[in-house]
């Protein structure tokens, strides 16, 4: 009950939250395609390619946090690596991009691998 009252005192605006996560998803799917391009040009195969994707998409999340989220979030009194000022769900923020961009990554990876090394 008390948390409900707190939520009503400081309400969360659904539209802004959706806008934030949509912007982030856009960035993720776009960068996933670009990672696919670079993995294909580098000629990575099987595990090293997927590892490349995982590392770089996590790196995207970290950079997004450092550049866009951290400056205002830390100065407003949140702990470091706490995204609750702009996003609901920390797991979703850090790893949601992996599933999001996987299809785009595989498509461009296959395309450029085929174009470059075949």
């Amino acid at each position: 009950m008390s948390s409900e009252i707190e939520l009503q005192i400081a309400p969360i605006v659904q539209e802004s939250l959706m806008h934030n996560s949509r912007t982030f998803q856009n960035l993720q799917s776009l960068t996933a395609s670009l990672f696919g391009v670079s993995a294909g040009i580098l000629g990575l195969e099987s595990y090293s390619g997927f590892l490349f994707y995982i590392i770089f998409s996590l790196l995207t999340s970290v950079l997004f946090y450092i550049i866009r989220v951290a400056p205002t979030s830390i100065s407003s009194g949140k702990k470091p690596l706490d995204t609750s000022r702009y996003f609901l769900g920390a797991v979703d923020f850090w790893t949601g991009g992996l599933m999001n961009g996987l299809a785009g990554f595989i498509l461009t990876w296959t395309l450029f691998y085929g174009l470059v090394s075949a």
Partner: protein, 260 residues
């Protein structure tokens, strides 16, 4: 340890220009076409007559009062609640009060609901027709070509899917035919469409099907729903609310926040 030799197949480089790029370009253009077809075919919401509008807005008013009661003072909330409950129970907002208590009309006989179904049919058609056309186009022109190699290994089970139309027994399942490039395009082009058309595009049928899988939004004013029952349920919901205000104890919270 016996190393399996890597299969190499010498392919004509022209395959890329005559198979890979046409399929990709056609897929992208179909997506764009589908997006604009959906935008054009979207029927404008039908104009409601005054009575229907009053019925719907009356119900929405009750729901909003119920959802935001904490911003009202006790007195004004009580006044709103009493007025709404009396109106709901007497059926003051109903479109045709003499129909009260009768079973709802058959949704199929209502012309208004037919229009909604037509809209759904149109959407389905916009998805199915291009897919069938492209599938048969690829099958007719490009079947039997091996065009690419996947950058990751797959098990033998995928062979029949990826190499449809290529009946070569010992070929590595990593080699893929044109039809499997088509499937890759279906799944992976969403990010391209996001980039070209903006985020809420209707270009990708996979995304739309995902959306339909999700929880169906409850139809509030759909055909076959008895508005009188909705009003009575809403009156009950309003009656059981235990009112409090966000301004309760606000002075304590203020003092606590400025204490040094």
């Amino acid at each position: 340890m016996a190393q399996v030799p890597v299969q190499t197949i010498h392919r004509d480089p022209q395959l890329f220009y005559w198979i890979l790029f046409p399929i990709t370009i056609v897929m992208v253009l179909t997506g764009i076409l589908r997006h604009y077809a959906t935008v054009l075919m979207a029927s404008a919401p039908k104009k409601l007559d005054q009575k229907t509008m009053r019925e719907q807005r009356g119900l929405v008013h009750g729901i909003n009062v119920r959802g935001n009661f904490h911003t009202l003072s006790k007195r004004s909330f009580n006044a709103r609640r009493d007025a709404l409950i009396t109106a709901y129970e007497s059926g003051a907002y109903l479109k045709d009060p003499e129909n009260q208590g009768q079973p709802p009309p058959n949704p199929l006989s209502d012309p208004g609901s037919m229009e909604g179904m037509m809209g759904m049919m149109k959407n389905q058609m916009a998805m199915i027709i291009p897919n069938t056309l492209i599938m048969s186009w690829i099958n007719a022109f490009f079947s039997g070509y091996v065009i690419m190699k996947l950058p990751f290994p797959l098990t033998i089970k995928f062979k029949s899917m990826l190499q449809a139309g290529v009946a070569t027994k010992d070929m590595d399942p990593r080699w893929m035919s044109s039809i499997s490039w088509y499937f890759l395009c279906i799944f992976g082009l969403q990010s391209v469409f996001n980039f070209i058309l903006g985020n809420d595009n209707a270009a990708n049928q996979m995304a739309q099907q995902m959306g339909q899988m999700g929880p169906q939004t409850a139809q509030m004013f759909g055909p076959g729903v008895d508005p009188n029952k909705q009003f009575l349920a809403e009156a009950e919901n309003l009656a059981v609310i235990d009112h409090y205000s966000v301004l309760d104890n606000v002075e304590d919270r203020l003092l606590k926040s400025i204490r040094v």
